[in-house]
C-alpha cells in the first residue's frame, strides 16, 4: 500500500494523465468541448466552401464521365468518414467497456448515428453517380455491398442502444455489439470482395484502376478534411446534449442553467 501511493501521485502529476482524467468528468468535458465546437464548424464551412468551389468550377470535367464525376467530392469523403466513424466508435466502445468511463460510452453511442448518416450519404451519392456511369442505380459491387452491410451494423448498434431503457446498460450492450462488429468488419469486407469476384464474371471498379490526377485530388483531400471537422462538431454536440439529458438533476447542469453558461 505504502509502496503504491507515491507511484499513483506521480502518475496524477503527469499533465497528460491528469488531463485525460479531467476529461472523464462530464462537467469538464462539457465546458472543454464547448470551446472547440464553434471552431470546428468554422473550419468545416471554410474548407467546404473552398473544396466545393474547386470541385464545381475549377476542376476540369472528366474525359470519360463528364460532369457527373463531380459527385466524387461528396461520395468519397463520406465513404471514408463512414468507416472512420465506425473505427472511432469501436475504439471508444473498447475503452468504455474496460474502464467504464461514461463520457466515452456516450461518445461511442453518438458516433453511431453520425456514421450511419455518412453511410446513407455514401450509398445515395453512389447510386446517383452510378445511374449515369453504370446505367443503373444499384449494382452488387463489392464496395457498395460492404457499405450496405456497414449500414446494417450501424443500425444494429443504434437499435440496441435505443431498445434498452437504462442508458448505461444500453450503452454497454451496444458497445459490446460495436466491438463484435469491428472484429467482423474486415472479414465481411474481404468475403464480400471474394463473393463479388466469384459470382460476377467482371466487377465494375469505381476508379477504373486508373489513378486520379493531382488537380482533381486536392479538392478531394480538402473535402475529406472538412468532413472530419463536421463529424467532430456533430459528435461533440450530440455528446454534450446526451450528457445534459442524463445529468439533468446533477449539480453541474443546474449551475449551467442558473448561470447561463
Amino acid at each position: 500500500m505504502t509502496e503504491k501511493t507515491p507511484n499513483k501521485t506521480k502518475l496524477r502529476k503527469n499533465p497528460v494523465v491528469l488531463f485525460i482524467h479531467k476529461l472523464g468528468s462530464p462537467a469538464y468535458f462539457y465546458h472543454f468541448t464547448g470551446k472547440f465546437i464553434p471552431w470546428f464548424w468554422a473550419i468545416f464551412l471554410v474548407l467546404t466552401a473552398i473544396g466545393m468551389y474547386q470541385a464545381f468550377f475549377v476542376v476540369p470535367s472528366d474525359y470519360q464521365q463528364g460532369e457527373s464525376f463531380r459527385i466524387l467530392y461528396l461520395h468519397v469523403p463520406a465513404a471514408w468518414m463512414s468507416l472512420l466513424a465506425y473505427i472511432i466508435m469501436a475504439v471508444c466502445a473498447f475503452i468504455a467497456l474496460i474502464w467504464r468511463i461514461r463520457v466515452v460510452e456516450i461518445l461511442a453511442m453518438c458516433s453511431a448515428p453520425v456514421g450511419a448518416a455518412f453511410t446513407v450519404v455514401t450509398l445515395v451519392a453512389g447510386s446517383l453517380w452510378g445511374r449515369p456511369t453504370w446505367g443503373t442505380y444499384w449494382v452488387w459491387d463489392a464496395r457498395l455491398t460492404s457499405e450496405l452491410v456497414l449500414l446494417f451494423l450501424y443500425l444494429g448498434v443504434i437499435g440496441l442502444y435505443n431498445a434498452i431503457d437504462e442508458p448505461r446498460k444500453a450503452a454497454r450492450a451496444a458497445c459490446l455489439l460495436a466491438l463484435v462488429g469491428a472484429v467482423n468488419l474486415p472479414i465481411i469486407h474481404y468475403s464480400v470482395k471474394w463473393w463479388n469476384t466469384l459470382h460476377q464474371g467482371s466487377s465494375i471498379s469505381l476508379m477504373g484502376g486508373s489513378s486520379i490526377d493531382s488537380s482533381m485530388l486536392w479538392p478531394l483531400l480538402v473535402m475529406s478534411i472538412a468532413v472530419k471537422f463536421y463529424y467532430g462538431a456533430n459528435l461533440l454536440t450530440r455528446s454534450r446534449v446526451k450528457l445534459l439529458e442524463q445529468d439533468l438533476r446533477k449539480g453541474w447542469v443546474r449551475n449551467i442553467v442558473r448561470e447561463g453558461k
Binding site: R172, L176, V183
Partner: protein, 231 residues
C-alpha cells in the same frame, strides 16, 4: 452479484448442463419442431415464388438452402437463454462460481444439437426439392456441418444482448444477420464451386477457420453480453 464457490468440476457442470437442456428440449418436442417446419416451409416457398424451372432452382439452390438455414437459426435462437432468464436460473448460473463462458458454451452446444443438427440432417431432402446439382450434396452437408455451429455461436452473442428486452427477437435478426454475411458467402461459394467442378477445399478451410475463431471468441463475448443484460 458475487460469485459463490463452485461445487463440482468444470466438466461435470458442463455435462450436467447439456444433459439438462437436452432433456428440457425433448420434453417440449413440438416446440423443437417449429424451426424445422419453418425451414421446410421457407424452402418450399421459393419454387412457388419463382416458378418450378429445375434449371433455375438448381442455380439458386445453395443460396436458398443456406438462407433458410440462417432464418431457421434466428427463429430458434430466441429460446437459447429465454426460459433460464425468465425464471432466474441464469442468475443462479452466474453466482454458481462456474465461468459463465463455459455455461454459455454448453447452451450453445445444446442449441446446435437441437436446432443446427436437424438442418444438417434435413439438407438432403431440401437438396432434392431444390434440385441441387449432382455431386454437390456432400459439399452442401459439409458446409452446413461446419457453418451452422458458427451461426449458433455468433447468434448467442446477439441473444445475450437482447435477452432483457420484451421483444428481443425482432431486434436479434437485425443484430446477427450482418454478422452472418461472411458465412453465407463462403458456404454458398463452396457449393457453387463444387457445382462448376472447381476446387472448393479452400472455402471449407475458411469455414473451419471461422468455426475455430468463433468457437474461441464467441463464448466469451456471449458471456460478457449476458453479464451486461443481467446487471
Amino acid at each position: 452479484m458475487t460469485a459463490g464457490v463452485a461445487t463440482g468440476s468444470l466438466r461435470s457442470a458442463f455435462v450436467a448442463l447439456v444433459r439438462r437442456d437436452l432433456l428440457l428440449a425433448f420434453r417440449r418436442r413440438t416446440e423443437l419442431l417449429f424451426p424445422v417446419i419453418f425451414l421446410l416451409v421457407v424452402v418450399s416457398l421459393f419454387p412457388l415464388g419463382i416458378g418450378p424451372s429445375m434449371e433455375l432452382l438448381a442455380r439458386i439452390s445453395p443460396g436458398v438452402i443456406w438462407i433458410a438455414a440462417l432464418l431457421s437459426t434466428v427463429i430458434s435462437l430466441d429460446g437459447l437463454f429465454r426460459s433460464d432468464f425468465e425464471d432466474g436460473t441464469l442468475e443462479q448460473f452466474v453466482i454458481s462460481g462456474h465461468p459463465l463462458t463455459l455455461i454459455a458454451l454448453a447452451k450453445i452446444l445444446t442449441h446446435w444439437l437441437v436446432a443446427g443438427l436437424p438442418i444438417v440432417l434435413l439438407s438432403p431432402l431440401l437438396a432434392v426439392w431444390m434440385n441441387l446439382p449432382d455431386g454437390t450434396m456432400g459439399v452442401m452437408v459439409i458446409t452446413l456441418v461446419l457453418g451452422t455451429p458458427i451461426l449458433s455461436l455468433i447468434g448467442a452473442i446477439g441473444v445475450g444482448l437482447t435477452i432483457s428486452l420484451k421483444r428481443g427477437g425482432q431486434l436479434l435478426s437485425l443484430l446477427v444477420f450482418p454478422l452472418y454475411v461472411p458465412i453465407l458467402i463462403i458456404a454458398t461459394a463452396a457449393v457453387m464451386a463444387a457445382a462448376d467442378s472447381l476446387p472448393y477445399t479452400q472455402f471449407l478451410g475458411l469455414l473451419v477457420a471461422g468455426l475455430i475463431t468463433s468457437l474461441t471468441l464467441a463464448p466469451f463475448a456471449a458471456a460478457a453480453a449476458l453479464k451486461i443484460s443481467l446487471s
